[in-house]
Symmetry: C2
Subunit: 196 residues, 2 copies
């Protein structure tokens, strides 16, 4: 049950990134949030802040893939619903103060190495979602397109929801994603969303 000091620091970095971006996840803030002793920085992250943030990006990435694994065996519409419910929980639990730590790193860190790592995480999420959608009956191309759309649209919707301190943007995007997922429904097998 007891997490290691390193785990607590990485978890705190994810939380702080999600709330205030790269600059908000300073060593000082991470120590205060995780209640880790000061010496932990140089013990666990001898290469400095970038090493801590890289670990946070990887951890946030892996944790989301684990959450996605729980959606195995569902229909595309159910996958959309569960995916959006995860984001809704992030907003509600934080009182609209938190979003995606990986997005925050992408737009506020000044490091090619961290950017590449964020890119890997987005790619891994897209691949796992596409796999679930294919297992749910979508054709490979449709699954790829919808998976990318789900990630992009939810990331953007969370930003709009934070800025407006309201769930409305997330709910609107949810409805649009449901339309796309239902239109791709496997039973019809159509290529086009329009009426036949």
């Amino acid at each position: 049950m007891t997490r290691s000091v390193r785990e607590r620091m990485v978890d705190s970095a994810v939380v702080l990134l999600a709330k205030r971006g790269f600059q908000g996840a300073s060593f000082t803030e991470v120590l205060a949030h995780s209640k880790a002793p000061r010496g932990s920085i140089y013990h666990h992250f001898p290469d400095g802040k970038e090493q801590l943030i890289a670990a946070a990006v990887d951890y946030a990435g892996a944790r989301a893939v684990l959450l996605l694994d729980a959606l195995s065996g569902r229909s595309p519409a159910e996958i959309v619903d569960a995916f959006m419910a995860m984001w809704r929980a992030v907003l509600e639990r934080s009182g609209f103060t938190a979003g995606c730590s990986v997005l925050a790193v992408t737009v506020s860190a000044d490091s090619a190495e961290l950017l590449a790592r964020a890119g890997e995480v987005f790619r891994a999420w897209q691949a796992r979602l596409a796999e679930l959608l294919r297992a749910g009956g979508l054709a490979a191309d449709d699954a790829d397109g919808l998976a990318t759309m789900m990630i992009a649209a939810s990331e953007g919707a969370v930003v709009l929801a934070r800025a407006q301190q309201a769930l409305a943007p997330l709910e609107a995007v949810h409805r649009q994603l449901r339309r796309l997922a239902e239109a791709y429904g496997p039973e019809q097998g159509q290529d086009d969303l329009g009426p036949g």
Copy 2:
């Protein structure tokens, strides 16, 4: 033709926010980028950095609304194409180093006042886009939903494109938005995307 020192500073703040977030748009960086004399800070922004960033958010917001005005009279599909072309240009011109300054403020500034301002800008973009889509033939509800989706999905796609240093996420989202826009097409008048 000559912009005032204040205009140059605000413009530089928008560029720096779009590239590196709130912390990247420090007074030092803005002075260097705009080549404004040091005294300009206290002359034009006596209340400090937050005043400069607020002006940058408002300016970025108003400039985007002007760009949207140019889409008047187009069909929903054409509006989607032109909107995504604007984002594509931001990515290509900057070599994938720049995104949306208003998104950056939302996720990296620690200020309720700036957050509220970012929320106003997103709301103004949504309202203008929805108006254009209605003029292009969409029902009010469909126009509202698609406008929110266009903003959320493009914001997210630009983040994915920066992280992956590739246009692919933007192109995938563009195709999905076209599907939605075409399915809402006014001539069919259907409520549902599925085949009849």
